[in-house]
Subunit: 457 residues, 3 copies
């Protein structure tokens, strides 16, 4: 990626600046009313910019710190997880602003409100979800390409769902979570590497990397009520979206812990489940977050999502890898895919129970189908494009390893041995370039033997 | 905990859903006024939901990220610290909503506002504080039980303090901090393990675990003004609660650093003090946060709290462990107990200086006594229940060790030795199950000798 | 620092309490209007305290968690980075409140609003920026002294810029970022240690310390729109400051990644650039954040800042260290210095393009000159004071090492060797005091030889 990456990044940024120059404007002074009375009028969002701003900031934390740290669980891939997450989101929010704005304004110049910044952040979330499916197996150049392609498809599908079908998806269970997950799975399927079927020595976590990942989990969990309510209508709907998400997530945590312990050997808890399944309740309540007018609905949805997600990690992910030849690094199908589908179906059930409005139910179903369909098609096409060997893909043995694209030194023990056996060695740290460490590792494998670790009689 | 834990968790969640179905309702549309004029009327909280929501989110961060990471200082107990913290809080906020709501509505159905979500988060804080006192020595099952019992007692005491005594405790120094600390100390006293009196090899921090703990400290410190002001009356009181807490915490940091250096050998700073004592000012100003109408009051309270807290860590905690047979893992008595009492007493002093209203002073004293009394009694009873050997308690040698309840692999060095002495070894990482690591460790103790580490002549 | 540090800290806190008693008051009840209509009137800030409070909290996160963790990249200096950052900011916000208040009230008693708390946090940012330039080479006592001196000079310069020149610097590119950077560079120049010219074995990061630093980077990046808009006039200006910063930062990330890859060997990314240069866009748009009324302006500024910052890290920092004898540990010149100057110049360009108001342009230039001038003079004087050998400066070999001022145990391998060569060793962790570790290290250097690490034929 000596020159391809920098030139591509610069080129994309220049394109964004040009597009913003052509299409994007700020609110005009007139739109800022002078009389305080109208302050809270829900129609004039621009006067409520400071009401929405804290919700935007919560979503902003989720996108940049939440998604970023959630993926740092891999022992040698933390730089890429937070770093490429930042790059994707920074480019994506600019491109998302353009893509969504042009579609809604039908090619005219358009204004930006805080709400549009929230939607721009949302659009990047789809790519970050898909990023989780291919984490460790792609190059930064491929991610730049995927960002542009996926957000374009996302914007079209969102336009279909909201403007054409008139479906309701306030928490974006369908348009963001299901879409991002199935888009990512499709890409991962096309980019499948048979040689990694048996797993890769770097595809594992260490103690501290799991703790870093919990930073992501907790900030996603904490701010999810803002994610599901940020673009809801002020008043009852927004209030319900907040409270429903709050209780759905709480219920989800309890059932996720229960299932994790139930399915693991000797009833132990597994960090992969705690890091991911505890969030499924936020995804699953999304679509109906502003519909459910009694909290126990939300708690049932959350409870189901937590259980389904853990089952997915335990049984579906291995099945996908071995049988379907789709390797989902972060298990986004269990955190975003299945719960997203549950969210869409739940909204149909709610409408059936509340109003039994058949056309509304049909539109929700259409929205779910459209989100999954466009995601799979878009993902397949994107995958085929990313398969072209011009994007600096990492070699199989270099997967899940920051040092391919980052300046990294690994700590290896440097030691001086006392001449008398039985004496303790002096040790301290030495950093060696990755290649040396690999040589040492392979050399070990020639001579080393794990059984030797067992204490001798 | 093969089946007990999952079944108990599922059962509790089902119970919560049923209770919510029976008692909890959402605000009705009528409560959302249409005319913007009444927007800020402090009586109709539901219209101010977006004003309160950012304060709720701050408290939410403190409860889930703040308390969780604050306890990750132990080298091998990080998963449980953030993980069980999340489980307790997720179950607790549901149970707290029910317990507080039923008491206030006298058994009727009740509505939920953002303020109730804040109070639900508050109720979990008591359990999280008590969790700190028994950290590393209990099982997840015991924590589920403690969550249900402690929040019930807390709700009753809070009802007494607020509704019956009509006492003022805006920052909950007495009802949350003192209560949580003394409840936890009582439980810790009942569950005392003499064999750990000398300390445990895992009861120590490592460099990175202390940094993870600072994530908790800083987010607690930063958002504490929201904790103390979230449920205050809008206007002057809420504004004063914010500013007083801001300055009390700032003063507390300076004196905590000073005392830490003063008491440590060679004037060094100690991370335990920095992680905890710097927060004592937020606890101690709590009760009088909306009373003190000049900031230097708050700064004096904060300065005293910072010093008292460090002294507590240095002298009281060892005394409690050895003499009182109460082992307080996180030293919650120094962060929440003593500063909580200071907070209650300070409120009496303020009233004496301002209005000298004897009955008000008596009610504050009654509130403090009631909080400590119910905590000690409730804690003793809870401790006795948790002592029953049916909760999967960890064995003494397994304390402070995630691997008892979590899937954990410990990194151990795998090395291939060059045949020539004096040569450097090739090393790389190998993960072994806990048992092996323990065997290796004990085996070392038979042969090893620390003095061998000293460089030879 | 056996007694100097604690006594100095206590003395300073007592002084703060006295000064607050003499000068600082809370808002009076009358200032809290009773009629809801006037709620949003932008003139009465005190009624908008809950509108501003979330922005204050965002800035609060940046100052205490953002700056603190950003500096944890050094492998052995994490405690001091987050710890001394907390101490400086806690003392600084009290002193900043006094210094700014007295200047604005011309020595009268003054009231505190949320806006004043934001400004107090801002004043500490200057010291935290300068702290980055001398990180690892100073004592806590020196930092207390620098906090008092720098904030005094900052308050005077800010008064000049705002009150006298009437210049506009909403995001404080000049008064905080440029000022803090050049003040720190001046101090670093005076305290230059020739012996460290070749670098220091502790002046390096390890894998996890770089991840901790990313916590700081991300929270700074996320909340920067609040930093640049917090004290802007409500309405159009505040809204523009938010949106401009949002897009400037996004553009900056893309160009920073491009340049990092372009300048590193084999096109790899470097964490130092990602941690710092991605934030330059927030600094550079600061002064004109509320002027630029089309987003592509902001994106151009951000793109330039990201590139300039990376170039600075690659070429300027080494030049400063070797040629100018100014060693800038964190490279604050590249993150705050250069982008701050760009921000000042950009404001002049904007005025030239928009109104061509010559006097306004002159005042902006005066503000930039005054900020850099007072910073350099103040920094030189402060540096000379800090050079007096009474502040417990660390010895050269003790630089960048927490254990000089903190209780720290370093993990060293404790191992028992099997008698048969070729067998694997049993290992586990042992903590030794710093001195031992140093002895072991030096002893290693006598016998050890890196080349021995290469696998033998």
């Amino acid at each position: 990626m000596r020159f391809t990456f920098p030139l591509m990044a610069i080129g994309l940024e220049v394109a964004m600046i040009v597009l913003f120059g052509l299409f994007v404007q700020y609110e005009t002074d007139q739109n800022f009313s002078q009389q305080p009375n109208s302050t809270k009028s829900p129609t004039v969002d621009v006067d409520r910019y400071l009401d929405l701003y804290p919700l935007f900031q919560d979503v902003h934390v989720m996108v940049f710190a939440g998604f970023g740290f959630l993926m740092t669980f891999l022992r040698k891939y933390g730089f890429s997880s937070v770093g490429i997450n930042l790059l994707i989101a920074a480019l994506g929010l600019q491109w998302g602003t353009i893509a969504q704005g042009i579609l809604q304004s039908h090619g005219e110049k358009f204004h930006i409100e805080i709400k549009d910044m929230i939607n721009a952040d949302f659009s990047t979330a789809t790519v970050l979800i898909s990023f989780g499916a291919v984490l460790g197996k792609t190059s930064p150049i491929q991610m730049l390409t995927m960002t542009i392609l996926e957000i374009a498809v996302f914007a079209v599908n969102e336009y279909l769902v909201v403007e054409i079908f008139g479906a309701s998806d306030i928490g974006a269970s369908m348009t963001i979570h299901a879409f991002g997950a199935y888009f990512g799975l499709a890409v991962a399927g096309v980019l499948y590497r048979s040689s990694l079927k048996e797993g890769h020595r770097n595809e594992e976590s260490v103690y501290h990397s799991d703790l870093f990942a919990m930073i992501g989990t907790l900030f996603l969990w904490i701010f999810w009520p803002s994610f599901n309510s940020a673009i809801a209508n002020a008043g009852k709907n927004q209030y319900m979206a907040i409270v429903n998400t709050y209780f759905s997530l709480a219920a989800c945590v309890v059932t996720a812990y229960a299932c994790s312990s139930l399915l693991e050997s000797r009833g132990k808890l597994h960090m992969v489940h705690i890091q991911n399944a505890t969030l499924a309740g936020g995804v699953a309540i999304g679509t109906s977050a502003d519909m459910a007018n009694t909290p126990y609905y939300a708690m049932i949805i959350g409870s189901i999502a937590g259980m389904v997600s853990v089952f997915g990690f335990k049984f579906l992910t291995p099945f996908f890898t071995t049988k379907l030849r789709i390797h989902d690094t972060c298990g986004v199908h269990n955190l975003h895919g299945l719960p997203g589908v549950i969210g869409g179906l739940a909204s149909i059930v709610f409408i059936a129970l509340e109003t039994a409005d058949r056309s509304a139910m049909a539109m929700q179903a259409a929205a779910l189908g459209s989100s999954i369909g466009t995601a799979l098609v878009g993902g397949l096409v994107t995958g085929l494009i990313l398969k072209i060997p011009i994007w600096g893909q990492p070699a199989d043995q270099d997967c899940y390893d920051d040092s391919v694209y980052w300046e990294v030194l690994y700590s290896v023990l440097r030691m001086y041995m006392m001449t008398t056996p039985g004496k303790v060695l002096l040790t301290s740290c030495l950093d060696v370039p990755r290649r040396t460490e690999l040589d040492m590792f392979s050399r070990f494998h020639e001579h080393g033997n794990h059984n030797q670790l067992e204490p001798e009689a």
